[in-house]
């Protein structure tokens, strides 16, 4: 975390950089959730998927000293969780809410269990290097914004690249068209020869992989790993941001930056020795989520077939 640097330098530049670092895990998860929900499947287990991504990435980063390989494994683990969710909710047509809860518990337990198995016997402080910042020549010299926006690590750059990619794929490709059709009117899509099941599987698996990357980056950018629940609700906030973003990738993506700012505020007050009790600051992101949902509730229209298992008639 760059919190201390924020206070020392007190510059807007490092403030923005810190917000980006805190937001990127949720931003990846929100992008994944947008894809999944546009295909009609709510992945309520995103929190659990992020946790599994986090422990996978952190283990690789710690034991093999390769954080990037860790992120890859995190993505893979997330995809596997997505596959399981797709099997239960798409093939078996079980309730998506309950299936998602199952995935959440599984991820929560699995990550805690793996942590205990892998790290509980290691006495020394368990830390990893983290990813180096890559400054883009010239652009990073721009005053204020340059030092933050053009001096990120490779995963942070990838987040913005992923946003552009997701917008293009959903809006401009055949797959995107099929995806939206399946989320809105699966029967019609089916009639036109689109394999509803395949599209949903792909959407949920890709969504899981993105959430896995989000969790992976969370663990890696924190340089350390707490035994349990490193995500502390970030996965659920990401799901809420999809509602906030009205199922549009960019809005959901940047919605998570509000929360990055809220987390930063929390750790900032913690460092300065706050007048406000610490636990009230911890509450800020959750209260914000509730308020944002209330404000945004009107006029949001979700994919018509969201949450409904598809059964071909006749």
């Amino acid at each position: 975390m760059r919190t201390l640097a924020v206070i020392d330098a007190a510059s807007i530049s490092s403030l923005i950089a810190a917000i980006i670092e805190l937001s990127v895990p949720m931003a990846f998860a929100a992008l994944g959730e947008v894809i999944s929900e546009r295909g009609g499947v709510i992945n309520l287990g995103t929190e659990g998927v992020m946790l599994v991504g986090a422990i996978s990435a952190f283990s690789v980063g710690f034991f093999l000293h390769s954080d990037l390989l860790g992120v890859l494994l995190g993505a893979f683990a997330g995809a596997l969780m997505g596959l399981l969710l797709a099997f239960v909710s798409v093939s078996l047509r079980q309730d998506q809410i309950l299936s998602g809860l199952g995935i959440y518990f599984l991820g929560l337990g699995l990550s805690g269990f793996l942590y205990d198995q892998l790290f509980s016997n290691i006495g020394s402080t368990i830390r990893i290097e983290g990813l180096p910042k890559l400054s883009i020549p010239i652009l990073s010299q721009i005053p204020i914004l340059g030092g933050s926006l053009f001096s990120l690590d490779v995963i942070e750059y990838s987040a913005f690249a992923a946003l552009v990619l997701v917008i293009l794929v959903i809006g401009r490709t055949t797959f995107g068209l099929d995806l939206r059709a399946v989320g809105e009117n699966p029967a019609a899509a089916d009639t036109l020869g689109v394999s509803v099941t395949n599209i949903k599987y792909i959407a949920v698996i890709v969504g899981g992989a993105l959430a896995g990357i989000g969790g992976a980056y969370l663990a890696i950018s924190a340089h350390a790993f707490q035994a349990e629940n490193i995500t502390a609700g970030r996965g659920f906030i990401a799901v809420a941001m999809v509602y906030f973003g009205k199922w549009k990738p960019a809005r959901a993506f940047f919605g998570t930056f509000l929360f990055g700012a809220a987390y930063l505020l929390g750790s900032f007050f913690q460092v300065v020795g706050a007048m406000i009790p610490y636990y009230f600051l911890l509450m800020v992101p959750y209260i914000m989520t509730l308020l944002i949902l209330v404000v945004i509730a009107r006029g949001a229209r979700q994919p018509a077939a969201l949450g409904v298992p598809y059964t071909r008639e006749g």
């Binding site: 047509r93 309950l98 809860l101 509602y243």
Partner: protein
């Protein structure tokens, strides 16, 4: 995709349902043992510890019932919500809020220790009301604004846990000893729920829990509100057409569900903890979701499922002690059990053929 075809059965037979439930019961401990074996631990030692910690000894049995008590209240509350297809995931926060209400009353409102037979009923009633109030927020957000209750109830859980952690380090903290733990003062002895099984910690709480299950059964299957709840759960638009106020039903189901969870929190703090501790938020609200599923989302099924799960939890902690393994194993097992139940249920609900 798998070359298998699932056709939804029009009518799920009682026998199929029962079989599925029984398989889930047998599968759950097997899952635990399989996870242990995978972690390289001896299943034989585990099985022995599981038996002794759950039903094999009086202390194990007592602990099983103790574990089942609050779980039963939370789970039967969830049955009401789930029957209306209101996905209340907030039992954790609601039970914490119930316990906070009890602590507020016993520590701050009562200036002198009244007798237990006066305080206990008032405290339990307050926990019931407190849990209901805490659930009213997501209930209204869902019914009036159409906001997904899963997200709001989970956010409320985090709020309740942060509030708990603040209270036990702030206004409620026991300051009689310098440098004391983050805990409230211990309640006076007469506020403890009466013990009904000697040499154990089994209190009258288990009676309250079982009676609540029977009352919920009556509510769901013998009253107009119960009928409306089930109607909304089966088909909201048909229910609306037939003149049922869906908003009202959603509100009632969620608030009642939260109230029972609050009562569960109250029974826990008066029966077991005797003080407000950070451990009040132990994840029991999430376990209750699994229990209500295992109980087939039926109030009477929940009685058996809670006792079974209480025994499993109690047995697991003795396994954890015997094999010196972390408690995250229980969490992992719960996740696996949910997924397995969901998969097994398919066999009761669908006809499965090769495509």
């Amino acid at each position: 995709m798998l070359g298998i075809k699932f056709t939804r059965k029009l009518e799920v037979s009682r026998r199929a349902n029962l079989t599925v439930t029984l398989i889930s019961y047998v599968a759950s401990p097997l899952v635990v043992l399989a996870v242990l074996a995978a972690a390289g631990k001896s299943p034989a030692i585990a099985l022995d510890a599981l038996y002794r910690g759950s039903i094999g000894t009086l202390s194990g049995f007592g602990e099983s019932i103790v574990q089942a008590t609050s779980l039963m209240l939370l789970a039967v509350g969830l049955v009401i919500a789930f029957r209306a297809r209101v996905w209340n995931i907030g039992a954790e926060g609601q039970q914490v809020f119930g316990a906070i209400s009890v602590t507020w009353f016993t520590l701050l409102v009562l200036k002198e220790p009244w007798p237990g037979y006066v305080v206990i009923p008032i405290a339990l009633l307050l926990s019931f009301i407190g849990g209901g109030i805490f659930a009213a927020v997501p209930a209204l957000m869902r019914s009036r604004l159409g906001i997904n209750e899963v997200i709001t109830t989970i956010m409320m859980n985090y709020l309740a846990i942060d509030a708990l952690n603040w209270l036990v380090r702030g206004p409620f903290q026991d300051r009689s000893i310098p440098g004391s733990y983050p805990e409230s003062p211990v309640f006076p002895n007469q506020f403890s729920l009466p013990i009904i099984l000697r040499y154990t910690d089994v209190t009258i709480g288990i009676v309250i829990a079982v009676v609540s299950c029977v009352l919920v059964y009556y509510l769901l299957f013998r009253t107009p509100l119960g009928y409306s709840i089930r109607a909304v759960g089966l088909n909201p638009s048909a229910a609306r057409t037939s003149g049922i106020s869906v908003n009202h039903v959603v509100d009632s189901a969620m608030i009642l569900s939260g109230a029972l969870a609050g009562l569960g929190g109250g029974v826990y703090i008066l029966g077991i903890a005797h003080a407000l501790l950070p451990e009040q938020a132990s994840g029991i609200g999430y376990t209750a979701v699994v229990v209500s599923l295992l109980g087939n989302v039926h109030p009477l099924g929940v009685i058996f499922a809670s006792i079974f799960f209480g025994a499993l939890i109690s047995g697991m902690s003795s396994v954890e002690r015997a094999l010196q393994i972390p408690e995250t194993l229980s969490l992992l097992s719960q996740g696996v059990i949910i997924v397995i139940i969901l998969i097994i249920q398919v066999f009761a609900r669908y006809e499965i053929r090769r495509a």
